[in-house]
């Protein structure tokens, strides 16, 4: 295993373009909007330990919501402290409150201390260590951003408390957390402080998993719900609650990376394959059922009941980026690109104010809306059709805040051979080998220009996107040969270079494995990294009446549209109206139409609307 690191966001300046717009939207709108909703919903008051004044009872994972928001603020302080003074003041106030509230033994949790202290470390299902993990991550980020270590020291004391309860004195009633997260956080704390105790604690929690028979109860009505069925050296497939699972896999990846543990890595690679080749939506989203918010069986990928929680998109980025650090395989970057442009972006409205918890791949309103309204306990509950500003279970919005805050950390990897460009995003990246400039309209024209004035590594590595079938590369104005093998290409470069890349973007129809029942006879339009969809707003009612022929790709037109990427229009067919419920199939008719596709991530931004990713193939 090479010593590979993603260049951290602190060394990345996003430049004009699609992703900087998204970054700024998070910074200028989303983070503030989440703050307002969290204040209204009593989340900050809970953390001020004064919920009794306002009468709103803290929820068991309010602490994690607040912590993720603080972590997001810390990332933004690190890049642009002046813009964050107001949010920083709130962070300081919350840290004051936490400091006063922290017990002498180090314990800190707003819900347990205020509502049910008798349950402290007694109930594995109540997200206690999950909250601790998010507080630790926030404290590390805050220390890095501000240099002030008060919050960090509080968390170190909390870790001491956790260590006593779970490891040295074993007074806790359970051995591993019901919802993973603290494992990641402890590795982060270890890397930040250099204190090996935190690494050992993380390894303890990971190694105990699947070993205590008393913890094989069935959370979420599923034996895989909290990953208690197997120990980490026997993991082969992705199971159970998807966010928990992906946080676990990310923690194991940290352990594999720190210890050079090839067995763990090899198992994780199988898990990664199981997800990406059997259990993942074309958008990069995962989680096929809301019953336990999780992975189900291979190829079970229903579209209109897709769960695909926004937090899963983030968790996929966490997992894949760790795997990429362990081994230079293009599949990790391919996945990150897929998630970034689709499942990740769809989580947030184009105005930055509202969020999806679930991200369905189909909405068919006329059939269902009355029922959903009429039946409070309809067992087939369908996902929401509109993003909302806050949910009662609001894990996703602040998770999205913190993700975009460190977006820059996912673009480039540096190792002993030089720099590897993983994502083509307009930015100036200060690598250990000098600054590299990336400029692109990648999702519009499939091109990127990489340049440097003082690059010291001689070689530059490039991830060739999996959708590219032909790359034309020009180095300092001269065409060079690049293979297209869905993998990496390495280019020898001088200290000063300009490398122009044209990945030959074109629309394509993607088919799903024929074992995916939901997509039988259907195709999804993709253009470069972007998955497209039909919306009722453009195509009228009953999107499932529409059929597209593969050769329609010869006759497409493009518009730059409200979502700032291309909309794609092409000739299609629509089943003609019929009066009868059932009739001779020989009598059914198709009418020619033009179908207009928009990027999936931009659906539900023009009011409630039917939407369809997987369109019937003519």
């Amino acid at each position: 295993m090479k010593n590979s690191n993603f260049v951290p966001f602190t060394k990345v300046d996003l430049q004009d373009g699609f992703w900087r717009d998204r970054y700024e939207l998070n910074k200028q709108v989303s983070i503030n909007n989440v703050r307002i909703r969290f204040e209204e919903s009593g989340r900050f008051d809970a953390m001020r330990f004064n919920f009794l004044q306002n009468g709103r009872k803290p929820h068991i994972f309010f602490d994690s919501d607040v912590a993720k928001w603080m972590e997001a603020v810390a990332y933004l302080i690190a890049k642009d402290p002046d813009s964050m003074r107001g949010h920083e003041a709130l962070c300081e106030e919350l840290i004051d409150c936490m400091e006063r509230a922290q017990r002498p033994d180090g314990y800190l949790n707003s819900t347990f201390q205020q509502i049910h202290p008798e349950k402290i470390f007694r109930d594995r299902g109540l997200h206690e260590l999950y909250c601790a993990g998010h507080l630790i991550e926030a404290a590390v980020a805050y220390h890095k951003a501000t240099g002030r270590d008060r919050f960090l020291k509080m968390m170190e004391r909390y870790c001491d408390c956790i260590e006593r309860a779970f490891i040295t004195e074993k007074t806790a009633s359970f051995t591993t957390p019901g919802h993973e997260e603290i494992e990641l956080a402890l590795f982060k704390l270890y890397r930040h402080t250099g204190n090996g105790k935190y690494k050992r604690m993380a390894e303890h929690f990971l190694s105990m998993r699947g070993k205590d028979p008393s913890e094989s109860e069935i959370p979420y009505h599923n034996p895989y719900g909290a990953q208690d069925d197997v120990d980490i050296y026997h993991l082969k497939d992705a199971n159970g609650h998807s966010v928990r699972a992906l946080y676990l896999y990310s923690g194991i990846a940290d352990m594999a990376l720190e210890n050079g543990d090839t067995i763990l890595y090899s198992n994780l690679e199988q898990v990664f394959e199981d997800i990406t080749e059997r259990k993942m939506y074309v958008t990069g989203g995962v989680g096929s059922t809301r019953a336990y918010e999780g992975f189900t069986v291979p190829y079970d990928l229903p579209n209109h009941t897709a769960y695909t929680e926004s937090c899963c998109a983030i968790a996929m980025m966490l997992f894949a980026s760790r795997m990429r650090r362990i081994e230079k395989k293009a599949k990790y970057g391919h996945l990150m690109e897929r998630v970034l442009y689709n499942a990740m972006l769809s989580s947030t409205s184009l105005d930055g104010k509202a969020f999806f918890y679930e991200n369905p791949l189909e909405i068919s309103l006329p059939e269902y809306n009355r029922e959903v309204a009429a039946t409070s306990e309809r067992r087939e509950r369908l996902p929401i059709t509109q993003r909302v500003e806050v949910f009662s279970c609001s894990c996703c919005p602040p998770n999205i805040n913190r993700f975009f805050g460190e977006l820059g950390s996912y673009l480039c990897v540096e190792d002993e051979d030089g720099v590897c460009v993983e994502q083509y995003v307009s930015s100036d990246i200060k690598t250990a080998y000098g600054t590299i400039r990336i400029r692109e309209q990648y999702a519009i024209d499939g091109k990127a220009v990489l340049a440097s004035d003082g690059y010291t590594a001689k070689k530059l590595s490039l991830r060739i996107p999996e959708w590219s079938r032909c790359v034309i590369a020009t180095l300092n104005g001269k065409e060079i040969d690049l293979d297209v093998n869905n993998s990496y290409e390495t280019v020898a470069v001088d200290s000063a270079f300009t490398l122009e890349l044209d990945f030959h973007i074109a629309p394509r129809f993607v088919a799903a494995n024929p074992s995916v029942r939901a997509n039988a006879g259907r195709v999804a339009l993709c253009y470069g990294p972007v998955v497209y969809c039909l919306e009722k707003s453009d195509n009228g009612d009953h999107l499932n009446r529409i059929e597209v022929a593969i050769d329609a790709l010869d006759d497409v037109t493009y518009d730059l549209d409200f979502h700032k990427l291309y909309s794609i229009s092409l000739p299609a067919y629509r089943t003609a109206d019929s009066q009868s419920l059932y009739f001779n199939a020989a009598e059914s008719n198709l009418e020619p139409i033009t179908a207009k596709f928009i990027p999936y991530f931009s659906f539900a931004n023009r009011g409630e609307s039917d939407m369809l990713v997987w369109v019937r193939r003519h």
Copy 2:
């Protein structure tokens, strides 16, 4: 409105063939098997009013289960008393017990009297009048079959009790039953006894519906759950719990018939259209969601979560046959044929021992079975995949028993013009105009021969099946012209005649209205009255990989198979395996195969198997 009556089953002798086999299976196997399961499950003990001895608590509608079984026995006694001596003895024993238990005021209910007498006529949701209705129907049938009126008199006393509680003294806490049934039963009791009080009681219950605001609570989490949203003169569409709704519509049809009420009939016709043109599966089944076991919105007809309760098939027969009595329109007979050969037959295993409560139109086991097993509260619960011998909510099996017991009552209508043949079923039918013999292998060769030696009406009316596109008719050996207009044809016949009919049966692919999302791009194979399906047992895994072209109908082969009708094989295509989860659609391949279809009703008779009615169209 004409004075039309179906010739009752007592005057119909089924003859060798498909339907007599089914009738005999019910008589010789099903009714006995249900008896055994009901004895084991304590249903009869509850009715013996000695559940305390066996410790099994009666269920709120055990009485209706037992009553339906007794009604079935009565129908069989009427045709063949010797074969039913054993069952008749049990009926007598149960009547003894009921007689001892009946309260002096006439009240009789095994659950309420034994378990919670304080709730008598206090809780609209507990099926009390539903149980009373079934007891009344059983008592009428038993009196007709045996001539003994003890049970009937008990029910008349019970009706007096109900009249006092709900009409004259109004001591009951509610005005209309939560689950309709007593309305039908009271009309039956009125027709049998001639006592107009029962008709008035039925009309009272019907007329009160939708009028008491205190009863517009939301049963089954749906405002339409128990048809409380509208009064019977404002009904326009089918809503809520499907069995309750259809029992209500049948009761209203009785009222329209008895009173010559054309407004009620016209409303019911709209409801009938709403069901058959917007809310009915191709099998004649209804009920699209298990959430409230009911009708949902138009064209919402999911296949693998279809509810389509077996009792709904029976209720559709009750409703349609009443509508046919009111007006001679072929659509009623068309529907009855569709239900008989599909939704009705699928309810029972080919060995007669086991029953479906829900009748799905698709089973996809590999994707779901682990989940179903693993998640006790999976919100998207799927229907059972195998028929079972008894359910805890076992309304369907004895309902099926009684339906087959009076199967003969659905074949012919007689009015002042003569006889109208509605269903082509081998039988000798003693009509008011002489005996008519029907001989057929209708579902195999699409033919029927009607004959009589002493027919006195001069005209014979025939329902031309809706699937027939060409009829060749031969009267006494000489071809005659018959129109094919999806309606009726009237043939002038002599006293002695032989009329040979060939409806030109052929396989056809049926399409669904394009607004049915679940069936977009799909077709169902039908052959005459029978809907066909694919089973994994014949076609391997992943039935959704299969595509059929319409012109494959030019190249079919037939086998007489385990279900005693044709299996149909034809050329088709199957999507080739793929390693990738997602790939360029231009690279997907089809392999030629032969697809074998079996009648839908016979699915799940060879072990657990995937099944598919709506197959993708090539």
